[in-house]
Structures are given as structure tokens and as C-alpha cells.
């Protein structure tokens, strides 16, 4: 078969099983858009800003496990995509971004809409390519998908000069079935000896805790994690990125850990004598002060990326491999072996943990006559029966969603953790809804974040992706205000906007339904009414308590046991317990 470059791109995407291509046209990709016009296999989703395309494709990948695919033009199209590429990179999300480039002969001449995309994205991609020969186009695309989806996943950019996609040059096309690269062979199985050592440590631990992260979701190993955890009967905590890998409503789950983790999770980490990190990367939001991190614990770490191991925290038993086969192997060893955890020690450990639990660190003032953001999330959980896919933006609302909406399944909680990109939530919800049209999708956001990609409301209408936008409107960049309250004597420097749009009118202008809620008693009925509008996107603007803060909080530079707790009816302080 002889095809031109543009046709090769589309045919390759088809062969990769790509359903959606999130994109925005421009000069350098006109040949490609012409090829898109002449096929129906890959559905193109026209966003309103290239950042929206990257977040939508990224979230599609997070929700489905399949790579998200983006197409942008050269120059401003390419630079607009960079924030979204970096967002995916930080959270290890598989994505292929095709960017147009100026024609080969004019590269380097400051041609119209030329930017060095390979240079600009180099620090925020897993890999990138500049295609210089149409004969290598198909193989390069194959490599891009292979690299993006294997090992530690990540975004891959394929920069294609305009002349490479010219309709005038046709070359034989055959999409490679497989690629192998001598320089890229990610580990899959863990080292047998290390796994044995890990099991020995595990069964002999007195105060163990399982600390699992996004790697379990990326590696589709939730089932194995659940089995492993239940066999051992150990407490388990998840990172922000790992939520849902272990059921959030299960009694062995002690909640999220880290800066805004639960009291019991952080105390258990601090006091433990053995932690097993599974697909988690000891991020600074998780560890707090490094020199005081888990002072009594030995550390086992399973990670597919050797560079994640002993990067910030020294590991005693490193296991380089994919979570799924490693956990399978560990489960086998536990099943075969006679050694079992010490029942007495475990009982004492759980007693201790239950005392920490009794602090009731997530309790808040339920008598307030203002809308408490936590209450909105709890009601959202009930109205959706815990079954929705929740996307979020970045800020206090993100933390409340993570704390008050327990996820029982993986790929239900879609948020930007590593880069913390405001503007992520709305395009993400569109990407998810396209993949799962029959599942409820809600975007939890704040009045500042939502304005960063608000234009995608128009995309939601065009592609009929009915989502529910839960705007926790505290008239503050709440997360910034909270830090200013705690660390800058409440000098609220530019952490609020003197003008906020009328979101109800705005939603209506974009062709959707808008609602504004000011009283706690209206929260539940409004949510019910909104979710009853099955085929409409609804923007619900909740006027929440402006002064509410996210607790618990480990302030920057502090250790796990040094948490600021909320004082509210129903909570106990540490001291009261002792």
C-alpha cells in the first residue's frame, strides 16, 4: 500500500486502536487535517485551547488505561500543549502528542510559527522524536506508542515537519507489528532473591504498613494489591495518586497519607517498623521532613523505574519490576510459605491504629449555617452512590474530594498530583465522559481553577458530554489563602479576585444549565436535580464557607507526627486521647 505522510499518520493511529484524537488545527498540520477529513476510524475532538486537548487526552488515558492522543500545530499550538504534557509527565500518564513543525528545509531559520518543540519538551517527556524522513514515519509512531505505554509510562512527542505529511510524496506503508529497541528494555519481573527477602521482612514485622501509589493503578494491579493486603491483614494507606487502588471504604484502609493525609495514616507511617512502598515514589508531599521520615522503619520498595528507588528515601530491599507480576509472586510465596505474621503483634498494632482513628481527624462542623465544602463532597458521594468518576482541579477542593469521596475502584479519581495543574478538571471530565458515556462524571473545582480552562464548556456542548461541575466557590484561592493564614499572618496577598463571573449565566451562555446554591439544606436536592438531568452539563456554583481549611496538615518541613488538626465538635485532640 502506498500512502502519503498524512495518511500514514492516520492509518497508524487506526492500527494502534486510537478512538479519539484531541486536537486543534493550524498551518503546519493542514495536510493531516485533510487526511482526518477523509477517514472515519479515528474521531477528532476539536477543543477550544490546546491545553484542553492535552488534559482531555491525559484523563482519557487515566480512566481507560489506553494512551491518550493529541494533535497540535507548530509554534503556539505546540507551546500551548506544553503544560498538559508536563502534567502527564509528572503523573506518568501514557500519551502520544503529534505536533506539526515547519518544513524541513526551513527548520532553524526562525520560520513562521517555528519553535524547537523537541528542545522545549525534552525535560517533560519520556522521549521525543523529530521525523526527518517519511519512510520512518510509521516506525516512529509505533515506537512512540511503545515507549509511552511500557515501563514507567509517560508522554511522547512526535514532531512532524509539514513537508513530511505532503500529499505529493507517497511511500510504501506497512505498520510494524512490533518494535524492539536495543536501548530500551524496561524490567518486568522483580528479582527473585529480593522478593524472598521482602517476604521474610514482611512476616516478621511488628508494626507494618503498606504504602501504595499511582503505580498500582498504572500497572493494573489493584486486584493483586487487595489480595496481598487481605492475606497479610496489614493496614494500608494510599497516596493521592493511588486512591481507589484499594477500596476506600474497607476497614484495613487507613486513608491517604502525607501533607493532607489522615491522622491515623501519618501516625502509623511514623511509628511503623516496616513499610512496603508499592508503585509510590516518596514524593515530598508524602514524606514531609526527610530526616524524620519513618524513623523506625525498614523499607521495601517495588517500582518499575530504578530511578524512583532510593531517590529521596534510602531503601533496604529494592525490587525493580512491574507491580502486578511482583505482587503475584509475593502472593504465591505467602500461600506456599508457613510463616505468617505474628498475630499478637498485629493485634496490638491495630489497637494502636484504632486509637489514632478515634481522633476522628476528618470531622467538621456539621451545625454551621454556611455550606461546608466537606458536606458537599459527602452528599456528592451519596447522590452518585460512590460510583462516579471524579475529576478535579487543584486546591483545597481537590483535597476535600480526596478525603471525603472514598473510591472503591481504580481509575475513578482523576487529578493532577505531581504538577498540580489548575485548569485540569474540566477538560479532563470531557475526556473521561467520551470514554465512559454511561458513567456519571463530575468535576470538583474551585472558582479560580475553573476559569483556567473554562472555554472547554463549549467543547462539552459540541460533543454532548454531559458532566456535572461541582464548583466549591469560596471566593478565594483557598489553598493559597490557607498557607498565607498559617505562614504569613493572614496577609492575603492576591489570593482572591475582586471580580468573579456569574457562573450561572456563563454556563447558560455556553448552552448548559447553571445553578447557584447558598444554603446547606439546598445542597442535597440540587445535586439530585442536577444528576437527574442525564443529558445536560450542569454547572453548580456552591457558595461555601470562605474560611474553611484543609486538615490535617503537615506544614512544609515538618514530620509525619507533627500535624495541625481541625478543632471541631466531634474531633479529639491528640492529648485528650492520651
Amino acid at each position: 500500500m502506498e500512502l502519503n505522510g498524512a495518511q500514514i499518520v492516520m492509518q497508524s493511529l487506526k492500527e494502534e486502536g486510537v478512538e479519539f484524537l484531541f486536537g486543534y488545527p493550524g498551518g503546519a498540520v493542514l495536510h493531516l487535517y485533510d487526511a482526518i477529513f477523509q477517514q472515519d476510524d479515528v474521531k477528532h475532538i476539536l477543543v477550544r485551547h490546546e491545553q484542553g486537548a492535552t488534559h482531555a487526552a491525559d484523563a482519557y488515558a487515566r480512566a481507560t488505561g489506553k494512551p491518550g492522543v493529541v494533535l497540535v500545530t507548530s509554534g503556539p499550538g505546540a507551546t500551548n500543549a506544553v503544560t498538559g504534557i508536563a502534567t502527564a509527565y509528572m503523573d506518568s500518564i501514557p500519551m502520544v502528542i503529534i505536533s506539526g513543525q515547519v518544513s524541513l528545509p526551513v527548520i532553524g531559520s526562525d520560520a513562521f510559527q517555528e519553535v524547537d518543540m523537541v528542545g522545549i519538551t525534552r525535560p517533560c517527556v519520556k522521549h521525543n522524536f523529530l521525523v526527518k524522513d517519511v519512510n520512518q514515519l510509521a516506525e516512529t509512531i509505533k515506537k512512540a506508542f511503545y515507549i509511552a505505554t511500557t515501563g514507567r509510562p509517560g508522554p511522547v512527542v512526535v514532531d512532524i515537519p509539514k513537508d513530511i505529511t505532503s500529499p505529493l510524496v507517497k511511500v510504501p506503508f506497512k505498520y510494524p507489528k512490533k518494535v524492539s529497541m536495543r536501548s530500551y528494555n524496561p524490567a518486568v519481573q522483580g528479582h527473585k532473591g529480593q522478593i524472598k527477602r521482602a517476604i521474610d521482612l514482611l512476616v516478621n514485622a511488628q508494626r507494618p504498613i503498606i504504602y501504595s501509589g499511582g503505580g498500582v493503578i498504572l500497572g493494573n494491579a489493584s486486584e493483586e494489591l487487595i489480595k496481598f493486603t487481605r492475606m497479610l491483614e496489614y493496614p494500608i494507606t494510599n497516596t493521592l495518586m493511588g486512591l481507589g487502588a484499594y477500596p476506600g471504604t474497607d476497614p484495613q484502609f487507613v486513608g491517604m497519607l502525607g501533607m493532607h493525609g489522615t491522622y491515623e495514616a501519618n501516625m502509623a507511617m511514623h511509628e511503623s517498623d516496616l513499610i512496603i512502598a508499592i508503585g509510590a515514589r516518596f514524593d515530598d508531599r508524602v514524606t514531609g521532613k526527610l530526616t524524620e521520615f519513618c524513623p523506625y522503619a525498614q523499607v521495601i520498595h517495588i517500582d518499575v523505574d530504578p530511578a524512583s528507588i532510593s531517590k529521596t528515601v534510602k531503601v533496604d530491599v529494592p525490587i525493580v519490576g512491574e507491580v502486578k507480576p511482583v505482587l503475584e509472586h509475593m502472593i504465591e510465596l505467602l500461600e506456599e510459605g508457613k510463616k505468617r505474621p505474628n498475630k499478637k503483634a498485629l493485634e496490638a498494632w491495630w489497637n494502636q491504629i484504632n486509637q489514632w482513628r478515634a481522633v476522628n481527624c476528618l470531622e467538621y462542623d456539621r451545625e454551621s449555617n454556611l455550606i461546608k465544602p466537606q458536606y458537599v463532597i459527602e452528599q456528592l458521594y451519596q447522590v452518585t452512590k460512590g460510583d462516579a468518576i471524579i475529576t478535579s482541579d487543584v486546591g483545597q477542593h481537590q483535597m476535600w474530594a480526596a478525603q471525603y469521596y472514598p473510591f472503591d475502584k481504580p481509575r475513578r479519581w482523576i487529578n493532577s498530583g505531581g504538577l498540580g495543574t489548575m485548569g485540569f478538571g474540566l477538560p479532563a471530565a470531557i475526556g473521561v465522559k467520551l470514554a465512559f458515556p454511561d458513567t456519571e462524571v463530575a468535576c470538583v473545582t474551585g472558582e479560580a481553577s475553573i476559569q483556567m480552562c473554562i472555554q472547554e464548556l463549549s467543547t462539552a456542548l459540541q460533543y454532548k458530554t454531559p458532566i456535572k461541575i461541582i464548583n466549591l466557590n469560596n471566593r478565594y484561592m483557598g489553598m493559597v489563602r490557607q498557607w498565607q493564614e498559617f505562614s504569613y499572618e493572614s496577609r492575603y496577598s492576591h489570593s482572591y479576585m475582586d471580580t468573579i463571573p456569574d457562573f450561572v449565566k456563563l454556563a447558560e451562555a455556553y448552552g448548559h444549565v447553571g445553578m447557584r446554591i447558598e444554603k446547606p439544606e439546598d445542597v442535597r436536592p440540587t445535586l439530585e436535580a442536577a444528576f437527574a438531568l442525564k443529558d445536560r452539563t450542569v454547572f453548580i456554583d456552591f457558595m461555601t464557607d470562605r474560611t474553611e481549611n484543609v486538615y490535617p496538615m503537615i506544614e512544609a518541613g515538618k514530620a509525619h507526627h507533627d500535624m495541625k488538626l481541625r478543632v471541631a465538635p466531634g474531633t479529639l485532640t491528640d492529648r485528650e486521647l492520651a
Binding site: V118, G119, R122, K126, I147, R182, D305, P306, A307, S310
Partner: protein, 163 residues
């Protein structure tokens, strides 16, 4: 500690900038970096001298290995190895200094490879220390130009870095 890392990398445009970019983005230090194609023209060999604590060197080698273009690498500091650096020096060679310079070059087993009535170009190879020692014997006032290649290295014995 000082480490010499030898890297086999795909001989592709941009590969060098990935390595250089990694070092600047992660704040690692590069003392010297040399690169040239190998006997297999699809591969380049890079020699990188860096320094840092054991933890930092471990991260550097892991991060380098993670670059898709990097095929293989070794930290030469982990084994007995030989290092050589090439230096070319242009010095003023006047009537009074010519003989003395020639003697010094001989002692250090260097060569004079260009001669004019007023100057010499001296070629010298050896360990970085040896080249430093030679430099310290020269009067800075006589130096016109100095160019050093940065060291390259190879391990002793039969084992080698190849595919």
C-alpha cells in the same frame, strides 16, 4: 568523589542535548564531557566526568540509563581503569626559552608539533594530573593558547563496554 562515566549512546541528533539537559535540569555537575562516534557508526561513546556523593552518583547513572537513547553505561571509577587526556599548547618560544622548553617537553614525553621562529605547539597526552603538572612548569606569561580534550577512559583487563 570524582567519577568517570562511559556511555554508549545512539548516534542521533539531539542525543547529546538529552544528556547535557539532564545534568542542568537536575543540578548535577559536569566537569568534562567528550563524545565521538565508535567503530559502529550508529553508536557514540561519551565520557563524562562528574563528582558527587554516592547517592548522587547512583541517581546520575540511573537517570542516564533512563534516557531512551542511552544503550549502556559504566562507572569507570568502580574498577581499575586507565585515563588519558590530550592537550595542545601554543607557547611563546624565544631564543632564551626554546631549549629549556624542549627539555621539559621531553621529560613529560610530549611532542613539539609546530615550530615558528617565535612559537611552539606542544602535544601532550596523559592523565589529567600529569597534564596539570606539566602546565605548572610553564610560565603563564609565555602561554598563547591551551586546549584540552577532557579525559577519556577504559577499564583494564579483558572486559569491555560494548553491546
Amino acid at each position: 568523589m570524582r567519577h568517570m562515566i562511559a556511555i554508549l549512546i545512539e548516534n542521533e541528533s539531539g542525543a547529546l542535548s538529552r544528556v547535557a539537559g539532564l545534568f542542568s535540569a537536575r543540578g548535577y555537575n559536569i566537569q568534562s564531557l567528550t563524545v565521538a562516534p565508535t567503530e559502529d557508526p550508529s553508536l557514540s561513546r561519551m565520557t563524562l566526568v562528574t563528582c558527587g556523593s554516592e547517592e548522587i552518583i547512583e541517581q546520575i547513572t540511573k537517570q542516564l540509563n533512563k534516557l531512551i537513547d542511552v544503550v549502556k553505561l559504566i562507572d569507570l571509577a568502580e574498577s581499575v581503569h586507565i585515563e588519558r587526556e590530550l592537550m595542545l599548547i601554543k607557547v611563546k618560544a624565544t631564543e632564551h626559552t626554546r631549549e629549556e622548553l624542549k627539555r621539559l617537553v621531553d621529560i613529560f614525553r610530549g611532542k613539539i608539533i609546530d615550530v615558528t621562529s617565535t612559537s611552539y605547539v606542544i602535544e601532550m597526552t596523559g592523565s589529567t594530573d600529569k597534564l596539570d603538572a606539566f602546565m605548572s612548569t610553564l610560565d603563564p606569561a609565555h602561554l598563547i593558547e591551551v586546549v584540552r580534550s577532557g579525559p577519556i577512559g577504559i577499564s583494564r583487563g579483558e572486559k569491555g563496554l560494548h553491546l
